[in-house]
Symmetry: C2
Subunit: 281 residues, 2 copies
């Protein structure tokens, strides 16, 4: 790994939000030269002031060809187009990767652009309901799982560099097939987000403020503060998997409601006991 | 208030779980003599060993008549029957109150027993997904809101003593009509509990362990670890209010699912933006 690490001398981070900004901070702290770009020029300037970006890139990404590694950290529906721009400007980068919450669409885009051998899909499990450069921090990925997904043709060098990149940030890489990733994440990540938001919407519709909730209710609705743009992207991009998961949550709510409506104490208690067993897991 | 406080020399705590156990610890620490009862004799013994209960009561509650104040802290469906036993054994207590999550049923029971003048319904917002004596702690109610509900005939002395009792434990009393309490709590407390459990049930049905979730998903499912018995009681007791709230959550999930199925990015983003505005309060 030391060999691979020493290979990453210059990295380009495209998108300096929570994920990209934190990665830029981590790499700069490890002595990597960081080229950075963000659509928001305030964030780009702030990242430069913080010493996390050594060289800002223009909107056409000219100069990105100096990077050994290019990391896309932009919303998932924007990523294919940004990838196209990055590939045009950096034809020779040895690794191009991303950090999005879905993996099939960006991998299809990489294959379509003919860069499958040098592309690795990445997804660090280090989100938060806060977003943007201001929410970024050094060490965000410390101990976090990061899923790595291959294209049809990802080479060993790119895979090794992607693992080294994330290990450099303290994360723990795990290889996962892109289709399996999107199917699983629909349940483990996208569904909890939507359930939290649906509860928030129901309470908002009733005119109940978040401050009226107890600590438990505040926990359940914490994710409702997440970025609407980012999550609309993820949900639309992973529609098939997420739709099935949402249906399952609706079914469970309806089952509980019917038990309550019919006064079936034992049935409701058994349902809730199953939930507690799962929680104790 | 100091006058009223000094009036509470001996209190009986019936039920030594999270709420009753914490109240016993608080009162004992403030110099009140605490009589205690619990169906679980291990808890009763442990509360004695911890110095939170000075005198254990037998199952027929003989001796409870020494108390100035009787506090019921038992599951809401058991409370009316325990109240009947307590009233039989302590005909003269100046305040009888409870700590349950619903208020209409216990108030109806108190009125039916002819003790409306001395009864105040209480509900401290200090729950947790953990339960039982082992989860109790001194200071649990510090800063917590506690709702106080009158019967048709609650007297000023009982109301003042109830406020003093909870202030003694550091809580902040607020008077609320029982019907309004149950209607609001269906949304602010009972619905978040059921939504968290429904998400847990959906994930359990898919064979996904809680450890696979990120920090956000773990927050959303934290309440799923709550006591099944306690929450089945609450849900059945507050069926009318909770059923409407569950229906609203189902409706919101379905609306999101339809936006996702139809690829309506703008519609989904607007829905999520509404949730974030609500979250920001």
């Amino acid at each position: 790994m030391d060999d691979r690490l020493s290979d990453i001398r210059t990295a380009a981070i495209i998108g300096l939000g929570l994920i990209g900004g934190s990665m830029a901070r981590d790499l700069a702290a490890r002595g990597v030269r960081v080229l950075g770009w963000d659509a928001d020029k305030e964030s780009l300037r702030a990242a430069g002031d913080a010493g996390a970006v050594h060289h800002p890139l223009p909107d056409d990404l000219r100069g990105v060809d100096q990077a050994d590694v290019v990391v896309l950290a932009v919303p998932v529906l924007a990523a294919p187009d940004v990838l196209r721009r990055a590939v045009r400007a950096a034809p020779g980068a040895r690794l191009i990767t991303d950090a999005g919450s879905t993996k099939q669409s960006i991998i299809r885009a990489a294959e379509g652009l003919g860069i499958g051998e040098r592309f690795v899909g990445s997804h660090p499990l280090a989100g938060d309901h806060q977003s943007g450069w201001a929410a970024s921090s050094e060490g965000l990925f410390a101990g976090a799982r990061v899923f790595l997904s291959r294209t049809h043709s990802t080479g060993d060098e790119a895979m090794g560099m992607a693992a080294a990149l994330w290990e450099m940030a303290g994360a723990r890489p795990e290889v996962m097939d892109a289709a399996e990733h999107d199917r699983r994440l629909a349940w483990t990540s996208h569904l909890p987000q939507m359930v939290s938001s649906a509860l928030a919407a129901a309470l908002a519709g009733q005119g109940i403020a978040r401050g009226e909730l107890g600590p438990g209710g505040r926990d359940v609705t914490r994710l409702a503060g997440s970025s609407p743009e980012m999550w609309a992207d993820i949900a639309i991009d992973n529609a098939a998997g997420l739709s099935a998961a949402l249906q399952a949550a609706e079914d469970q709510l309806r089952t509980m409601r019917h038990a309550i409506d019919s006064g079936s104490h034992a049935r409701l208690r058994d349902l809730l006991a199953g939930c507690r067993s799962w929680h104790a897991g």
